[in-house]
Assembly symmetry: C2
């Protein structure tokens, strides 16, 4: 089992890997077994917890998918930086107004024109279990981080 | 059902969407239900068929995942072009030497140093069922193409 020092190093490494890559592709499994990806803007950098947060509408299809199959993947790709990150975890819908106020950023108005007054606005939290990444520094060999 | 003209227009649209984005994130489902993504260099542009091809080692874990759960997603992201493409389909392992010779490109030597003489070198074919894309031209509204 990872010690707390290991864990803080792992979280710091993940923070560096995805810093500056705003959009992740959030992949879910549908009831028929098919996989769908959705571009989602991450709502904060990775800090002390191994979690990702995304704003969503609670009635969107991806939320139904997550409620039926909670395991998801979020990938971050940067061709300029030659870096590819796969984040495996479980996701859940969170309707916490305080958390929404903490995470809100004006750029999100593109999708949520009324901001936090948007009916149905919610959060998808991703609890991270495993990260794999590939970059030019590792000659594109896969490196694994377990949480 | 799509007519052949519709189909050729859909394939042309997909060709344009992912042209110039070399790496896709290939997402699979593991036996425990967890989702993993792998960066993979696409081995040809989309031409007359709604298929994607990737070189792989037949013994790699993603091949086992595909054999147990054939539904996959391949996403292509370009932050410069503000374009995000989700491709849902089914995948299968193909060990066709002629197809490998047709698709081989020297850049693949990074992963397959011996080229087509690499033991175990194979192809993963993806038969495309559905494409969704988001770009600045559509104000990041999702557009769906069914095949």
């Amino acid at each position: 089992m990872a010690t707390s020092t290991d864990r803080s190093q792992e979280i710091q490494k993940l923070h560096e890997l995805i810093k500056g890559i705003d959009y992740g592709m959030f992949t879910t499994v549908d009831d028929d077994g098919s996989l769908h990806s959705y571009p989602m803007s991450k709502s904060s950098e990775i800090n002390s917890e191994a979690t990702l947060w995304f704003f969503t509408y609670a009635a969107s299809h991806k939320v139904t998918e997550v409620e039926h199959h909670k395991q998801v993947n979020v990938s971050f790709s940067s061709s300029e930086q030659q870096r590819y990150v796969s984040i495996s975890g479980t996701s859940e819908l969170v309707k916490d107004r305080n958390k929404m106020r903490e995470l809100w950023k004006p750029e999100l108005k593109t999708w949520f024109p009324k901001g936090l007054d948007e009916p149905d606005i919610s959060l998808l939290k991703v609890n991270i279990n495993q990260v794999n990444y590939w970059d030019s520094a590792s000659s594109f060999k896969s490196t694994k981080i377990s949480f």
